[in-house]
C-alpha cells in the first residue's frame, strides 16, 4: 500500500482531532480558572436565556404528554390546594394577597408570580412542573412523588388563580383576616397551630375542607401521634403533611395528637351511599372475605383495639379509598404498621375498596362502635 493514497483523509482527521483536543483544553482551562461568574446577581446573556427558556418549555411540553387531567372543577379541591399554596408556595412565589418576599425575589431566576401560570401552561404541564420541579431554578419536586392526588389539588388551585383577587384568594385559602392578612393569621384566643391544622382538617363542628384531608376529631391519640411522626420522618408519603409535621417540635406533635383525640362531638356528616354498597362494605368490614383472604377490617379498626389502629367510621369515602390505593400500590410501606396493612390492601379489588369506603363513610363517628363480634365463625 502506498503512503499517499488518501492524503485529504489524513488532513481532515488531523484537523478535527486538533480542534476537539483544543476545545477540550480551552474549556477545561475556562472551568478551572474560575472565570465564569456563577453569581445570581449577574444575569445571563439574552441568547443564553432564550436557549434555556426554549429548552425548558420544550422539555415540559414533551414530558407532560400523556398526562390526563382529572376533573378539577371541585371548589373544595382548589381550596385544599390553596391552603398548601399559602404555606408551601407563597413564601417564594407570592400570592394575590402578598407581595413577593424580597429575598425570594432575588433568586435567579426569580420565582414567577403564578397568576399567569395557568395561561402559560395547561393543566397537565402544571401538574408535571409541580410534581417534578425544574432543575437549576430552585423549584423543588413534590416531596411525595406517589401523591398525584395532592399535586392535582394544587393544579386545581393554580387554574383558578388568574381570576382570583385578594379577597377570593383569602377565602379560598381560609384566611380569617381577609385580604389584608397575607400571613394567614387566624382568630384570637385559639392556638395558632391548631387553627392552622383546622384550616384543612376541620374541627369538632366543621368538616374538613376536602375529603383528602381526614377529619381528626375523636381519632385515637396514639395513632394521630404516630401519623404525625411518620410524616415528619418521611415514612408516610404526603407532600402536604410531611412539610407541616417536619416543622413542628416533637412535644408539639404530642400536644396536637391529644388535642384532636380529645375532641368530642362530630363534624362528620354520614354521607349517603347506595344501600347495597353499604351492605356489601359492612359484610367485608365485619366478616372479611374468606375466599380472598381478606380479614375483617373491624377486628383492628374500631374503638376497643390498640390505639395504633385508626378508627375508620365517619371518614370520607375519598380518603379511605385513596389511602387503601396507596397501600395497594406500595406507596405506603415504610412504617411497621403499613407492613401489616399493605398485603391486606393488595388483596382488595377496586369494587371492594369502593364498598368499604361507602360503608365506613356512612357511619357517624361515635365514641362507641365497640367490639363487633362476628355473628358466626365460618365453620
Amino acid at each position: 500500500m502506498r503512503r499517499f493514497d488518501r492524503p485529504w483523509w489524513r488532513a481532515v482527521a488531523l484537523g478535527a482531532g486538533i480542534a476537539i483536543v483544543g476545545a477540550g483544553l480551552l474549556g477545561g482551562a475556562f472551568v478551572l480558572s474560575g472565570l465564569y461568574n456563577v453569581a445570581a446577581s449577574r444575569e445571563h446573556f439574552a441568547i443564553t436565556n432564550a436557549i434555556i427558556r426554549l429548552t425548558l418549555t420544550r422539555s415540559v411540553a414533551t414530558r407532560s404528554m400523556g398526562i390526563e387531567a382529572p376533573d378539577l372543577s371541585d371548589e373544595r379541591l382548589a381550596a385544599l390546594g390553596a391552603r398548601h399554596f399559602a404555606s408551601g408556595c407563597a413564601p417564594c412565589h407570592a400570592s394575590p394577597a402578598s407581595v413577593q418576599n424580597p429575598i425570594a425575589a432575588e433568586m435567579y431566576p426569580a420565582p414567577p408570580a403564578l397568576t399567569q401560570a395557568a395561561e402559560e401552561w395547561n393543566a397537565a404541564q402544571l401538574f408535571w412542573i409541580v410534581k417534578h420541579g425544574l432543575k437549576f431554578t430552585g423549584m423543588p419536586s413534590w416531596p411525595a412523588l406517589t401523591r398525584d392526588d395532592e399535586v392535582w389539588a394544587l393544579v386545581a388551585f393554580l387554574e383558578r388563580l388568574p381570576e382570583s383577587n385578594a379577597e377570593e384568594y383569602a377565602a379560598l385559602a381560609g384566611s380569617e383576616g381577609g385580604a389584608e392578612d397575607a400571613n394567614l393569621n387566624f382568630g384570637e384566643g385559639r392556638g395558632r397551630t391548631e387553627a392552622f391544622c383546622d384550616n384543612c382538617h376541620g374541627d369538632a363542628e366543621n368538616p374538613p375542607v376536602h375529603p383528602l384531608a381526614p377529619s381528626l376529631a375523636g381519632q385515637k391519640e396514639p395513632y394521630l401521634l404516630r401519623a404525625l411522626e411518620e410524616y415528619a420522618g418521611g415514612k408516610r408519603p404526603s407532600g402536604m403533611m410531611q412539610a407541616v409535621a417536619a416543622a413542628l417540635a416533637p412535644e408539639e406533635l404530642a400536644r396536637l395528637a391529644g388535642h384532636y383525640a380529645g375532641q368530642t362531638g362530630t363534624a362528620t356528616t354520614p354521607s349517603d351511599g347506595e344501600d347495597e354498597a353499604i351492605a356489601r362494605g359492612e359484610e367485608i368490614a365485619r366478616n372479611g372475605v374468606r375466599e380472598d383472604d381478606i380479614p375483617a377490617c373491624l377486628a383492628c379498626h374500631r374503638a376497643g383495639t390498640s390505639g395504633q389502629f385508626p378508627r375508620l367510621d365517619g371518614l370520607a369515602p375519598e380518603y379511605i379509598s385513596t389511602q387503601l390505593s396507596l397501600f395497594r400500590e406500595g406507596a405506603r410501606y415504610r412504617s411497621t404498621y403499613s407492613a401489616i396493612m399493605r398485603p391486606i390492601a393488595e388483596r382488595l379489588s377496586e369494587r371492594q375498596i369502593e364498598d368499604l369506603a361507602t360503608y365506613f363513610a356512612s357511619l357517624s363517628r361515635q365514641p362507641g362502635l365497640e367490639a363487633l363480634p362476628r355473628p358466626e365463625a365460618s365453620r
Partner: protein
Amino acid sequence: MRWTCRAIFLSALTVLPGCSGVQSALSPRGVEALRIDPLFWTATGVGVAVTLMVVVLVAIALYGPPRWRARLGGDRMLIGGGIVLPMIVLTGLFTYGLLVMQAGAVRGGQEAGATVTITGKLWWWEVVYHTPDGGEVLSANELRLPVGRPVRLRLESDNVIHSFWAPQIAGKLDMIPGRTNQVVVEATEPAVSRGQCAEYCGGAHALMAFYVVAMPDADYEAWLAREAGPAAEPMSEQAARGREIFLEHGCGACHQVRGTEARGAIGPDLTHVGSRMSLAAGMMPNDAQAFARWITGSQHIKPENKMPPFGQFSDEELSALAAYLDSLE
C-alpha cells in the same frame, strides 16, 4: 478413580438416613402403606435381578469364550431375551401393581368410622375432624389417627393443587380445587410420623409439612374431646397479658381461638396450638421462642405466606404474646 468411588459411596451414605426416620416410606405403619410396601420391594427386586442379568451378559459378550459369545449373538437369544422375557416381566409387574393398588376401585370406598377433612392452604393444612353427632373440630397442620380404626380422609383445596403424602400411612393423593378426593387410612401402631405436600404448589411448597400422630383409640377419643373444647384460660399473668395483646392487635381477624372473641378463619385455628408437634406446618419447634420469631418474621421463614409481619411489639409484649400462644394446649 478411587476418589470418584469414594465420593459416590459417601453421597449414597447421605441418602441412607432417608430410609428410616419420621418420613420414611420404608417403615410403613398404616394399612395402605403396608399394602404398597411389598410392591416397592418386588419392583426393586425384579429391577435388581434384571440389572444383574444384563451385567453378566455384557461381561460374557466382552470377555467370554468364543462359543458363549456366538450363542449370545444367536436369533434364539435375541428373541427370547430381548422380546419374550421383557414382555413376561413387565406384564407380570403391571398386573401385580394393578392388583395391589386396587386400580379402578374407589380408594375411599371402604367403610370408615371417622371422617377428617384436610384442606390444602398456602402453605399449611386445615384439618377438620367430623364427630359422629355432626359436629366439627377445627385444627391445623397435624393429623391424629386412632390406631386400628379406619378413618376417611376427605382431601380438598381452595387455591392450587396440593398433594397429601404421609409416607408411613398411605400413598400420595392430590388435593384438587373444586373436588374432594377420598382415601381411607388406618394406622397400625402408635407412632409419630411426618408428611408433606408432594405437588409443587408455589414458592413455599417445600415448607409445607405436617405430623401424623397415631395414638391408641382411647387416647384418641380423649384427645378429640379436649381438642373440641375451648381454649385454656391463661394460667400466668404474662399469658393473660398476652391474650389481651392478641385481641387488641387484631390477631382474631385471621385466627380463631375458641372461647375468645377471636373468630378469624383465614389462618390456622389456634385454640390448642400449643399442643401441636410443630409450628408453621412442620417448620419450627413448638415453643415460645418460635412463636415470637414467626409473629415478627414469618415472611423470612415462609416467604409470601398470607400473614403480614407484626413488628410493632416491644420485647415485653412479644414475650407475653408468645407465652400466651404457647400456653394454648
